[in-house]
Symmetry: C2
Subunit: 118 residues, 2 copies
Amino acid sequence: MILEKIQNSDQPLCAQQIYEEMKEALDLATVYRGLKYLEENSEISSFLLDCSERGVERYYSSFFAHHKHYMHCMACHRFTPIDTCPLGGFESLEKKTGFRIDEHFLTLKGLCKKCQNK
Amino acid sequence: MILEKIQNSDQPLCAQQIYEEMKEALDLATVYRGLKYLEENSEISSFLLDCSERGVERYYSSFFAHHKHYMHCMACHRFTPIDTCPLGGFESLEKKTGFRIDEHFLTLKGLCKKCQNK
DNA sequence: AAGTTTTTGCAACTGATTTGCATAAATTAT
DNA sequence: ATAATTTATGCAAATCAGTTGCAAAAACTT
Ligand SMILES: [Mn+2]
Ligand SMILES: [Mn+2]
Ligand SMILES: [Zn+2]
Ligand SMILES: [Zn+2]
């Protein structure tokens, strides 16, 4: 159920949002346990969002959307996906610093098209 | 005191780390209040780090280091600063999506030089 | 020194997430 | 199909970073 909800959404969802729509069927603790299980089994992936209005929440999206980046609208709080990762090769940075980069997380914030025209 | 500690550190620091070194002088709540004040007055800036070992914590660095990005070592948990922001112009992305990008946050994770050679 | 404002410590609270525990549901063995 | 065993669930309590109320302490004004 939880997996389907996430797969059928065009937006990353947080635990509360998933719970809202199934509160008659599932307890919040069960939602969290389900999300944990799904993430451990690589069916979904998550990232933290630090939103000035809504605070810090973890958002989940289906795994095939793994390593996708989003732009977060600070007005409507929706995510706009970015098709191509704007981060290119880190080779020169790695060579220069000796650091081996394994993962990167990028969050863009601003105003979506709709919210600008208001 | 808090501001000095942050300015004199080569690493972003979290509330706990700052508190550790002044626990005889300051209460943790006072540290948090100080950090809030300093950030509101743009003397420091902060970012969230989601570390698989240490959990989610907010790290603070002096404001002149604002808009700096770091690579976080997953072994020693230290930050290596990146001198030049690897993110170039978002103009084409903005034009294509209509989204207006105001801020961006980037976290790189991996293994620092030292930790690789162990 | 007395009155006023600001800062502090401490404890209680918050909100997201996790956990213990006893029960319910699903599986497997008899 | 029935009893024994395993797994999933609800609910409440715990956790953890961070915040807040409140009364006492410190700093500032008069
Ligand atoms: Mn990327
Ligand atoms: Mn940048
Ligand atoms: Zn919007
Ligand atoms: Zn390291």
